[in-house]
């Protein structure tokens, strides 16, 4: 059976290593924080100016001055540090953030990522996504392998405007996990009950 949103988030959480500073994108990546393995301590960065992001507050303890990059109310932890946006993206651009886990619309076999804009539709903006993929040590993508029409989102070349060029390292999909390698994508792992043939059949990108 293919993985669902929570399974993908749990699988993505296996990518995290003790001591990492990590930035999680909006959507399924946010769920990753629910599955951080026992014994692994990671510090979550929120690019609006915070290291050490805590869970949502309990009702009545929401603070208008304490939000995440999705503008949701959150809480701080004993080890939290705050800083301004220039410092926040300084640590992102400076390669201090070990990993970002982001959603995507398309990923190409060379690691190109498109996740911010569909021409002709309402364009909201790239926010911090272009900075993250250009700056962090490792970029993991979490997404369904196919769109709702059954078309592969793992492509030979992206059709949508790029967020970054050759920036993705690993893709965690509902059908399995793939790495960007020389010459295309390589299968790391299939979801339970999904065969390598199934994964190849669903994927447009070259699988080596």
């Amino acid at each position: 059976m293919p993985w669902d949103r929570n399974d993908m988030a749990a699988r993505a959480a296996q990518e995290l290593e003790d001591g990492m500073y990590v930035n999680l994108g909006i959507g399924i990546p946010t769920l990753v924080s629910n599955y951080i393995p026992e014994g692994v301590e990671v510090t979550l960065q929120s690019e609006n100016g915070m290291l050490g992001m805590g869970p949502f507050p309990i009702e009545g303890e929401e603070d208008a001055d304490l939000i995440n990059a999705g503008k949701q109310t959150i809480t701080e932890l004993p080890q939290t540090a705050y800083f301004d946006s220039a410092a926040s993206f300084g640590m992102i651009r400076g390669g201090k953030i070990a990993m970002a886990i982001l959603g995507a619309m398309e990923v190409a076999e060379n690691g190109d990522l498109a996740n911010w804009m569909i021409p002709g539709k309402l364009v909201k903006g790239m926010g911090g996504a272009m900075d993250l993929v250009a700056g962090v040590g490792r970029v993991g993508v979490v997404m369904d392998l196919q769109n709702k029409h059954g078309d592969s989102k793992l492509l030979k070349e992206c059709t949508l405007p790029l967020t970054g060029q050759a920036v993705v390292h690993r893709i965690i999909t509902n059908l399995g996990v793939l790495d960007v390698v020389e010459g295309g994508l390589s299968i790391v792992e299939c979801a339970p009950g999904v065969s390598e043939e199934d994964l190849r059949a669903a994927t447009e990108a070259t699988i080596v």
Binding site: S46, E47, N48, G49, M50, P55, F56, P57, I58, E59, E62, D63, A64, D65, L66, I67, N68, G70, K71, Q72, T73, I74, E76, Y82, F83, D84, S85, A86, S88, F89, G90, I92, R93, D112, L122, V123, K124, G125, M126, G127, G128, A129, M130, D131, A134, G135, P161, L162, T163, G164, Q165, A166
Partner: protein, 231 residues
């Protein structure tokens, strides 16, 4: 050297003109200079260009200046929460320049530090890089981005002393320090003006050199996405 003013309107007196370029602090609705935005609305200044990460919502933040059609251009990284913004943009009434969020923050910081341009990997190979100088350093390609030099900075802090030394609270700091730095004049609104000497000099987030005029006022501090967990 009197920096403290009685109201937002008084603090902005003589600083506003049609067609001006304003850098504003805030992220979403968090830490936005809501009192100064209200005063700019009342002043009716037109054809404004704003460097601001977001454009507020329809009835709060920069959104109120979109309602009155006072904004000509936005330089922002994300504008998704504002339907009037989208209407004006799609009808061609409003110009929009998307900047990656870190590029926008660094453009402000750089401008404030007298740096007219800098190189970054952010946006290489994307539409953001089109028309910009590319340069290789140590085998990697970078693009040049320009520092922002604004006519006016409007920012919001938690507390400041009468000389403008300022302290922000939690994630409401965000774009406020870099925005404060990049304007010819910076007007700051705070929740509390405290006597000189009462802030710890080791814990000042923004030194008063960047702040020219200060007002104290009541802030609504609206929450955009109220999210809670079970107790």
């Amino acid at each position: 050297m009197k920096k403290v003013y009685g109201s937002a309107a008084e603090a902005l007196d003589g600083l506003l003109f049609d067609g001006m370029f304003i850098a504003a602090g805030g992220f979403g609705l968090c830490g936005i200079p809501e009192l100064l935005l209200d005063a700019i609305k009342d002043a009716g200044t037109k054809d404004l260009t704003f460097a601001s990460n977001n454009a507020g919502v329809d009835d709060f933040g920069i959104g109120i200046l979109l309602q009155t059609k006072q904004v000509k251009k936005m330089i922002s990284s994300y504008v998704g929460e504002n339907s009037e913004f989208m209407r004006q943009y799609l009808s061609g009434e409003l110009e929009l320049e998307f900047n990656p969020q870190g590029t926008l923050a660094e453009r402000m910081r750089a401008g404030g530090c007298g740096i007219p341009g800098f190189y970054t990997k952010t946006g290489v190979g994307t539409v953001i890089a089109e028309g910009k100088e590319h340069k290789d350093f140590d085998g990697e390609t970078y693009i040049m981005e320009r520092g922002i030099f604004a006519d006016l900075s409007i920012v919001k802090a938690w507390k400041a002393d009468e000389t403008g030394n300022a302290v922000f609270r939690k994630t409401a700091r965000n774009f406020n320090p870099p925005a404060a730095m990049c304007g010819k004049t910076c007007v700051m609104e705070v929740e509390e003006i405290v006597p000189v000497g009462s802030l710890d000099p080791d814990s000042i987030h923004l030194p008063g050199i960047y702040v020219h005029r200060i007002i104290q006022g009541e802030h609504e501090k609206r929450i955009e996405q109220r999210t809670v967990r079970a107790a």
